[in-house]
């Protein structure tokens, strides 16, 4: 295959393809690289949308009851009242912000884009194992996303019961929740196809010589992530069906007996269990948080090794840690439910497992820090972002520990402290890593580098902005202010001392927004004006750099590659270069 196919593809490109194949090539493509880019661009757009929604919310939190500047008139009477957003609209923004960020932004970028683009290249394969399913996966995701967005335009508006969609509230709310459920089912099937594809690709299509213990850490991270998606999502799909039936067919899966709303008994047969939803939801959503973090760790691992010019310290430890983390993540879910009265025995079990699962997280962090030790670090733009990931993830992880102990969680549950905790892991953590990945593999995809000066102008304000947004939340939360309050706590006596912090967060979010403008400019300008690169601009060792940048057409490698060594052979004593690529026979 290899050589023949690739030259064939190249020849085809030289002819200039016919009109019909433009669609085949860039829209309904089966090439994992094109699909990866489609995933990436779509996910970035969704991230921008989700960020925009939260900017609106932050205005309301800092300046409740004041009309939104510029945007106040935009949303019409249904969503705003004299320029002030209505409580209903605030709830819609909150629910959709969470949903969009997690399911349409971060995961599609981390798994759909990075996984799709990099895994086949890093294992030396011509494509994913099932290219057509891969295409279907993208289009299901796209459709799910459109349905989610479209729900804003319903007369009753979008879903508004939080990204967690707890019943009975979610069952009783009008309108958009049904669309949310349908959108979720599509997204779940999309990720199912994607995860089967990634696992089979890694297991079956590794190049000769590429044993499991020679796989780049990123590939391991994607492998474990895919298993989490594969096994954790189905229960949420079931739960989604059941909630859908509660809404449209009048069943009572989640509707308890004798429910009274506004002084009226609701028309349900009853006999259901609202906590059942929470169990099914968190059975997915806890593993899902590792889906958010593991690919980020993988990206950081690659970039740290490359920019320290050293092998990752404790490569095997890293791998055993992510495997352990992946397995454990299935038995910690009820730490989100300590306040539901599960009983002491069950609480104890989940506290114990939560403490245990923190250990591998800390090990991974430690491995990354030790890897920096004694290196002469290249402070490239991707490396800056990767370095920032380490302490930011540290803060996020450490603030999770008190939440995992029910004594502390009774105070902290559903306060801004929780919001601070998980945003630190996902935003200053995962998002920084994803930016690192974009800067690092941009030359691979486009053949050009992103501008380093603009990169720094993106990095520092982003880092400061993120901390400015989320650090105050710990204080607000410890003062006892609940999440999901329409006015940010203005009417509560205990919130008065910390209300000013709401404004700090909001102003920091503007800085953050400004910094992303720099990123967008850099992203597009570099497409045309970025410095052209040779095939391996970072002098990296892994297989994605063994082909041209950008890789030639469908098929990836000009001739089949064979692997001769581990993934991070940097600065090998006596080698002629400070890096020894995996496919190179002699050093």
């Amino acid at each position: 295959m290899g050589e023949l196919q690739a030259t064939h593809a190249a020849a085809h490109e030289a002819h200039g393809d016919h009109a019909e194949s433009f669609i085949r090539k860039y829209v309904f493509s089966t090439d994992h690289k094109v699909i990866g880019v489609q995933y990436g661009v779509t996910a970035l757009v969704f991230l921008a949308v989700g960020f925009f929604l939260v900017l609106l919310m932050r205005w309301q939190l800092a300046y409740p009851e004041q009309p939104m500047p510029l945007l106040g008139g935009l949303f019409g009477n249904r969503m705003t009242d004299a320029g002030v957003m209505t409580p209903e609209f605030y709830n819609q923004l909150g629910a959709m912000h969470g949903t969009i960020m997690v399911f349409l932004g971060v995961v599609p970028l981390a798994v759909g884009a990075f996984g799709n683009y990099l895994v086949p290249l890093q294992v030396g394969a011509p494509d994913m194992a099932f290219p057509k399913l891969n295409m279907a996966s993208y289009w299901l995701y796209f459709l799910g996303g459109i349905i989610m967005l479209a729900s804003f335009f319903l007369p009753e508006g979008s879903a508004r019961s939080g990204w967690t969609s707890y019943p009975p509230l979610a069952v009783l709310e009008p309108g958009g929740q049904t669309w949310w459920l349908i959108g979720m089912v599509l997204l779940i099937n999309s990720s199912l196809l994607g995860s089967v594809n990634i696992i089979v690709t890694i297991v079956q299509l590794r190049a000769p010589g590429l044993q499991f213990m020679r796989l780049p850490f990123l590939v391991w991270a994607q492998l474990v992530t895919s298993f989490l998606l594969l096994l954790a999502f189905p229960p949420l799909e079931v739960a989604g069906f059941m909630q859908l039936l509660d809404r449209v067919a009048g069943t009572s899966f989640f509707m308890p007996t004798g429910l009274v709303v506004d002084g009226q008994a609701v028309a349900f047969s009853g006999g259901g269990n609202a906590l059942l939803w929470q169990h099914l939801f968190w059975f997915l959503a806890h593993p899902e948080v590792y889906v958010l973090i593991l690919p980020a760790m993988g990206i950081v691992g690659e970039i740290v090794a490359n920019n320290t010019r050293k092998p990752l310290w404790g490569y095997k430890t890293l791998i055993y840690s992510v495997l352990f983390l992946g397995g454990m993540s299935f038995i910690v879910w009820a730490h989100h439910m300590f306040l539901t009265g599960m009983g002491t025995a069950i609480s104890t079990f989940f506290q114990l497992t939560t403490m245990i699962i923190s250990v591998p997280s800390i090990i991974i962090l430690t491995v990354l820090i030790i890897s920096l030790w004694g290196a002469s670090i290249r402070f490239s733009t991707p490396m800056l972002f990767a370095l920032a990931f380490i302490p930011m993830f540290g803060i996020g992880g450490l603030t999770g520990l008190p939440l995992g102990l029910s004594v502390a969680d009774i105070h902290l549950h559903d306060t801004y402290y929780v919001i601070g905790h998980f945003h630190f892991v996902v935003a200053p953590g995962t998002l920084m890593a994803l930016f690192a990945g974009i800067y690092y593999w941009y030359p691979k995809v486009t053949g050009r580098r992103m501008n380093d000066t603009l990169g720094r102008w993106h990095f520092w304000p982003t880092l400061i902005g993120l901390n400015g947004v989320f650090l105050p939340m710990f204080l607000v939360g410890m003062a006892g202010v609940s999440r999901r309050l329409y006015d940010g706590g203005t009417t509560y006596a205990h919130a008065q001392d910390v209300l000013w912090l709401n404004e700090v967060s909001t102003v920091a979010s503007w800085l953050l927004a400004a910094a992303q403008v720099v990123f967008v400019i850099n992203f597009f300008l570099s497409l045309r004006n970025g410095k052209k690169v040779e095939d391996n601009p970072w002098q990296a060792t892994t297989l994605e750099w063994a082909t041209t940048s950008p890789p030639l057409g469908h098929g990836n490698f000009a001739s089949p590659v064979t692997v001769h060594r581990g993934p991070y052979e940097y600065s090998v004593p006596e080698a002629s270069n400070d890096f020894s690529p995996q496919h190179q026979e002699s050093t």
Partner: protein, 203 residues
Amino acid sequence: MAEIEIPYNSTNHPDTGVYNAKLGIWLFLASEVLFFGALFSSYILLRVGAGGTAGDWPLGADLLNVPLATFNTVVLISSSMTMVMSWASLKSGNFDAFQRYFGATIGLALLFLLVKGLEYYAEIFHQRYPSTSTFLATYYTMTGIHALHIIFGVAVNAYHFVSAKRLYAEEPERFTNRIEVAGLYWHFVDLVWIFLFPVLYLL
């Protein structure tokens, strides 16, 4: 653009001993185990919450048609057998026998759906709807989702049935593998019914 060739598409990988689609279907079935696992867990939780048959939970046999469901169980098990035979016929190169057995598999699946439809019709005729009680909601949902799996299987098999000649002529080995994969899925769906039947109708 020319189709590129994916390694181990129809031949077994020397280390793992399977071809890609076979690993793929096993992974898919693993996720299906969790899918139906969640359904069965929900069933148990709701039933226990209702105080079991001593409480508000009716005995399936009092509401549902056990003889029809028993008949359907036999139908589905037979279809699993014809499915195996169709694959075995392909393996031994007997294309005509394959077509007979494979056609029978599809026919039996349709018969199952017909009987299931009659059951639903009778339930609705007696004004037993999903909204009537949590037991009925569970019953409709679990059997309904199972029926959707059957319909999906019938669609996949029907496609292979009508294009069998062409696909077999082009790549006999690959086609045989596809039937094997479709078969694995089919057996799984049958297996689910083997659990559903006693849980919903008898216990």
